[in-house]
């Protein structure tokens, strides 16, 4: 396991709670300098995995290495190399943003003067300079998460664990957090991100591990995962429900099985020759007088991936 390319490596991790196995032979490899998404439904083991890798939970089997240090035998070394941001912004609500960063800086053993200087730097980096001397209790959700990220970045960790960093944020707050994460990655930090939002994993992660029932059930790039579900599909939304079956026949002329959604007046079917199939279908629909609301090519989403891999919607 001495491979220097990997920021995180876990092999066969097991974490038991009584008879229940929260992690049941979980494998994960995160390459240095990448954003790796850990995707799965509630209770799949995402948070447990992050808490084990972040030294917050002892595990019962397997082995794990973070930043080159063994998690079980050298947890303190691991703690010097990681930043961890949990599902709730772990901040002192009474203190100001600056006081929070200075306190955590001193507890990271920076010493008073360096802790102060680092706090100023981080407030600036995360766009919180103006709010720095306000109590965190007055911060918006997005500001809290950014301050939380800043606190995780005090020592410029090798690996940053983000456990559902945007859960509960409004779209603007999510955008702010995504922006900050992108900047951190551009500066060289490795990020392991857990999320329930497929869109989030798709936007940020270069590689995704899908976890279900404590095991990794897929590991690929977002594109690769989508490809594995099948290629592109042609999708037609008709104006009149009476036209649905005719439209279904037309989009499925390549011999594939069409999927009909009667509620949404929508049919779709897989296609091989993307553009040719689209123009052909558009022409035929027009020739046969089917009133079309919308027509287009659709790539499979991670939702489709999820449904396919686990048999459940995310």
């Amino acid at each position: 396991m001495a491979d220097g390319d990997h920021a995180v490596r876990a092999e066969g991790l097991v974490k038991k709670y009584g008879d229940k196995r929260a992690l049941d032979g979980f494998d994960l490899t995160v390459r240095r300098g990448t954003v790796h998404g850990l995707l799965g439904p509630n209770g799949a083991g995402k948070t447990t995995a992050v808490r084990v890798l972040g030294t917050l939970l002892r595990f019962d089997g397997g082995r794990a290495e973070v930043g080159g240090a063994d998690v079980a035998s050298r947890p303190r070394e691991v703690r010097r190399r990681i930043g961890l941001t949990g599902q709730y912004a772990a901040l002192d609500e009474v203190l100001t943003g600056r006081q929070n960063l200075e306190m955590f800086g001193r507890l990271f053993h920076l010493g008073g003067r360096r802790a102060k200087a680092r706090a100023t730097e981080l407030l600036d980096q995360f766009g919180l300079t103006d709010a720095g001397d306000k109590g965190v209790g007055k911060y918006s959700g997005g500001m809290r998460r950014r301050l939380d990220l800043a606190a995780s970045m005090i020592l410029t960790p090798d690996v940053l664990f983000l456990d559902e960093p945007t859960t509960g944020l409004d779209p603007r707050g999510r955008g702010e957090v995504w922006e900050s994460v992108r900047e951190l990655v551009a500066a060289g930090t490795t990020v392991l991100l857990t999320t329930q939002y497929l869109e989030e994993a798709d936007k940020l992660a270069g590689r995704i591990t899908v976890i279900d029932q404590g095991r990794a059930i897929a590991d690929d790039t977002p594109e690769g995962l989508k490809r594995s579900v099948g290629g592109d599909r042609i999708e037609v939304v008709v104006t009149d429900a009476a036209d649905l079956s005719r439209a279904a026949k037309i989009v499925a002329r390549g011999g594939a099985e069409p999927v009909v959604d009667e509620e949404a007046l929508r049919v779709h079917a897989p296609v091989a020759d993307r553009v040719a199939a689209l123009t052909d279908a558009a022409r035929t629909l027009q020739d046969e007088g089917v009133a079309v609301e919308d027509i287009g090519l659709r790539r499979p989403s991670l939702d489709d991936v999820f449904l396919r891999l686990t048999g459940r919607a995310a």
Partner: protein, 264 residues
């Protein structure tokens, strides 16, 4: 080993600084914490005072003051529990645990902060008491010894507070502890001497750990009170030392185990 100890102390101090900054930013909190005992002093001292009988025939307000000090110390465990459960549910304790700091500082920092706050509370209460005419005549040494015994009780209850703070699910539940604590302080020698209660209740009150601290501090402050006949009342000073030690021996391991269990 030397550096381990150094960081255990330094990290503890940094956690204490955080706790004290809270009071600096929200001075009203300490006023809230003191509001109840000060109100009790005024209510019991003035409203019921004239109707209250003190064994030995002393002034009720002189009798009441050491009880108020001890009650403030006793209720302190609710503050400890509330602050701990807040940090636990907000993820602050997890952040501390994910950092390369001394893990002990999370708890020791809480304890030292609470003891410093208890000193301030006692000082303010004593000044209030002096302002309304309380005149202890136990001398400086007696006064300091009483102060130390009160802090000793508060120290013991820190571990109860930490344990409960890690046990209860949310800050609201910690607030509910008041409903348990209030009767426990009533059935003690804080307000009324146990020998004036029905026998069975008086026995319970006399063996209440708080009663020993109250009786011992009354004695040290030089308040003339006829002590009850039971063994525990006759050995109040000894028991004011023993009870908090017993509480510490019980609740410190429970708190430490609960803290270690966060990693399980």
């Amino acid at each position: 080993m030397g550096t381990t100890l150094y960081w255990a102390v330094a990290d503890c101090w940094n956690v204490v600084r955080r706790g004290l900054t809270h009071y600096q930013r929200q001075p009203v909190n300490i006023a809230w914490q003191l509001g109840f005992p000060i109100l009790s002093v005024l209510l019991y001292g003035y409203v019921f005072g004239s109707a209250m009988v003190v064994p030995g025939g002393g002034d009720y307000r002189d009798f009441l003051m050491p009880g108020m000090f001890a009650m403030t110390m006793a209720f302190g465990f609710i503050n400890t529990a509330t602050l701990v459960v807040h940090d636990a549910t907000k993820g602050v304790i997890d952040r501390f645990r994910s950092m390369p700091m001394a893990p002990s500082a999370v708890v020791s920092g809480r304890g030292v902060t609470d003891l410093l706050v208890a000193c301030a509370e006692l000082a303010i209460l004593m000044l209030t008491a002096l302002a309304i005419g309380w005149r202890p005549d136990g001398g400086i040494v007696g006064g300091l010894a009483a102060f130390a015994l009160l802090l000793w009780l508060r120290f013991a209850l820190i571990w109860l507070g930490v344990w409960l703070g890690l046990l209860v699910p949310n800050p609201e539940a910690a607030g509910g502890l008041f409903a348990v604590a209030f009767p426990l302080t009533m059935i003690s020698s804080i307000f009324v001497a146990p020998q004036l209660m029905p026998d069975w209740l008086g026995a319970v009150a006399a063996w209440n750990p708080i009663s020993s601290t109250v009786a011992a501090t009354r004695d040290l402050f030089g308040t003339p009170v006829g002590a009850g006949d039971s063994w525990v009342e006759q050995h109040a000073l000894l028991m004011a030392g023993v009870w908090p030690a017993v509480l510490t021996l019980v609740f410190f391991p429970l708190a430490a185990r609960k803290f270690a269990a966060l990693g399980r």
